[in-house]
């Protein structure tokens, strides 16, 4: 078990999401930066889709109740195990009573903590990803106890792990969305050449941008959306849907981010610049 001494700003348990219920309106959910989550799992010898902890900006302070192996990836700052600094993207052993302080990130927005065999919180509709009202809690709270299996084995042999991504990259790779062709030439140019910044309205459901395209009067009948869909509101505001987004929407879908771009955007702080490349 792991005890939550301090919950951090917004920490959740995530796997690769809840597949198969989108026609009933159930969001996919899952790790915002799925690459970093998979990397953390690989480092501790888990399958890529094991449940990990996702933290946002300020990480939690946790106490291990038994032996395990853990690793931290994604956007992280100073990581402390029992008051001594440890490195990201590396597996460590933890023993009973050890205290892990994940601190405040100084590069990407979200860090991932994997423990051997994954977090064993409740599985609902095939996934352990936290999403209220399907799962009991929306984010970690002080005093929470997270089930984790004891693992006394050795650290996994260092195998070749992919290099972590550079979170300062600005370019988000995308494909044209179903309604891209409805955009005016001017709007298309804005989208192609514009530099946009991440608005403070960004969370697991959606990430808004501060700069608008020209307003429009296009409309569609409610239709399916995906994580990574860039929606355009009539006022010209862009809303990029993320992992917990609703499964249908009524705004034109002008771009669709590639998986790699969703992961990169998930690491952007409010105010950071992005560009679309399509």
């Amino acid at each position: 078990m792991i005890k939550v001494l301090e919950p951090g700003l917004f920490s959740t348990i995530q796997d690769l999401g809840r597949k198969g219920y989108r026609d009933k309106g159930v969001p996919l959910s899952g790790a915002m930066d799925s690459h970093s989550a998979a990397l953390a799992n690989t480092l501790v010898g888990n399958p890529e889709g094991a449940a990990v902890m996702e933290t946002t900006m300020t990480g939690p302070k946790l106490q291990f109740d038994g032996e395990t192996v853990f690793a931290i990836t994604g956007g992280s700052g100073s990581l402390m195990l029992n008051g001594e600094e440890i490195q990201p993207v590396r597996a460590y052993k933890a023993k009973r009573g050890d205290i892990l302080d994940m601190g405040r990130s100084n590069n990407g927005l979200r860090a991932y903590l994997a423990v051997r065999k994954g977090f064993r919180t409740v599985e609902v509709l095939g996934s352990r990803s936290w999403y209220v009202p399907l799962t009991p809690s929306s984010h970690l709270k002080k005093g929470d106890i997270l089930p984790v299996e004891v693992y006394s084995g050795e650290l996994p042999k260092s195998r070749r792990v992919p290099k972590p991504v550079d979170f300062s990259k600005k370019r988000l790779k995308a494909c044209k969305g179903p309604e891209f062709t409805l955009l005016s030439t001017q709007q298309q140019r804005q989208l192609k050449t514009g530099i946009f910044t991440v608005a403070k309205e960004n969370n697991r459901m959606a990430c808004q941008l501060n700069e608008n395209l020209l307003p429009h009067e296009m409309s569609i009948l409610t239709s399916a959306t995906l994580p990574g869909t860039v929606q355009l509101t009539p006022a010209g505001k862009m809303i990029i849907l993320m992992r917990d987004a609703q499964t249908t929407g009524g705004y034109p879908r002008i771009l669709q981010l590639e998986e790699e771009a969703i992961c990169l955007l998930a690491q952007k702080h409010t105010g950071e610049e992005i560009m679309f490349s399509f």
């Binding site: 597949k19 198969g20 219920y21 989108r22 026609d23 009933k24 309106g25 159930v26 969001p27 609902v124 509709l125 009202p133 399907l134 494909c175 044209k176 969305g177 179903p178 569609i220 009948l221 409610t222 239709s223 399916a224 995906l226 990574g228 869909t229 609703q246 499964t247 249908t248 929407g249 879908r253 669709q256 981010l257 590639e258």
Partner: protein, 241 residues
């Protein structure tokens, strides 16, 4: 039935969007639903999302679009030989007591109707589920009587209780869980349209029909207890295409 002209749109490298003519229309929805069943049987799709005039196919792996469009199109050409899809009409109990329908009296006043008229006009039609989205189990219903069309509230409420029945614009629906919302609340249904503890968690499908019937407060209380203890059975009619 004539076949519709379909449009295919790429939607990222894992999904293909199929669009029917842009109309809110029963015959289009019926075509989408039966084609969706065929696709799920015949093609290697991870999941599909039907809504109004479109059907999204989501694949596990990257898909060569041109090849997939060809396969889908060939399938569409032959699909009227497929079996009709089983559709249901759900009878959903609603208590229109003003304890639940907190906007009902104001709504009736603004529409220059009596509360009884509102209830009658709301329970008369057979509604069609054109999409499920927004929240798990939230049904987008078509078929609201024009007399009841009414703008959303200017100030959305932060918390609307689960089961609330509302009217917003040209739409009516049931909030499947507590959520913020801007619709005018006229009643409450004790049933749970989406329950993650059930398998399947949500019995209603896009293409099904819904009819509301009025219940009094004691019945609402009784049904609530029956729903909580898992013994409540929703009444349905089987429909044949």
């Amino acid at each position: 039935m004539d076949k519709f002209k379909l449009e295919y749109k790429s939607f990222g490298d894992h999904a293909l969007l199929i669009q029917w003519p842009r109309l809110v229309d029963e015959s289009i929805l019926t075509d989408i639903i039966s084609f969706n069943e065929l696709i799920k049987q015949q093609l290697d799709v991870q999941e599909t999302v039907p809504a109004y005039n479109s059907l999204l196919l989501i694949f596990d792996t990257e898909t060569v679009l041109a090849k997939m469009i060809k396969e889908v199109n060939n399938l569409y050409k032959g699909h009227y030989k497929s079996d009709p899809v089983e559709r249901k009409r759900w009878q959903i109990p609603v208590c229109y007591d003003t304890e639940f329908g907190i906007d009902l009296e104001d709504f009736a006043f603004q529409k220059k109707l009596s509360v009884e008229d509102v209830i009658k006009l709301h329970t008369e039609p057979v509604y069609t589920i054109y999409a499920i989205g927004f929240l798990p189990g939230f049904m987008y219903l078509g078929g609201l009587n024009k007399t009841l069309h009414h703008p959303r509230r200017k100030e959305p409420r932060l918390k609307i209780p689960r089961g609330s029945v509302g009217i917003g614009g040209e739409q009516t629906g049931v909030y499947p869980q507590e959520s913020p919302g801007g619709w005018n609340i006229i009643g409450n249904s004790p049933i749970r349209i989406f329950n993650p503890e059930n398998q399947p968690p949500c019995g209603v499908n896009v293409g099904d029909q819904v009819q509301f019937y009025s219940i009094d407060k004691p019945t609402h209380e009784l049904f609530t207890i029956q729903v909580e203890s898992g013994i409540f059975q929703l009444k349905t009619l089987e429909l044949n295409d």
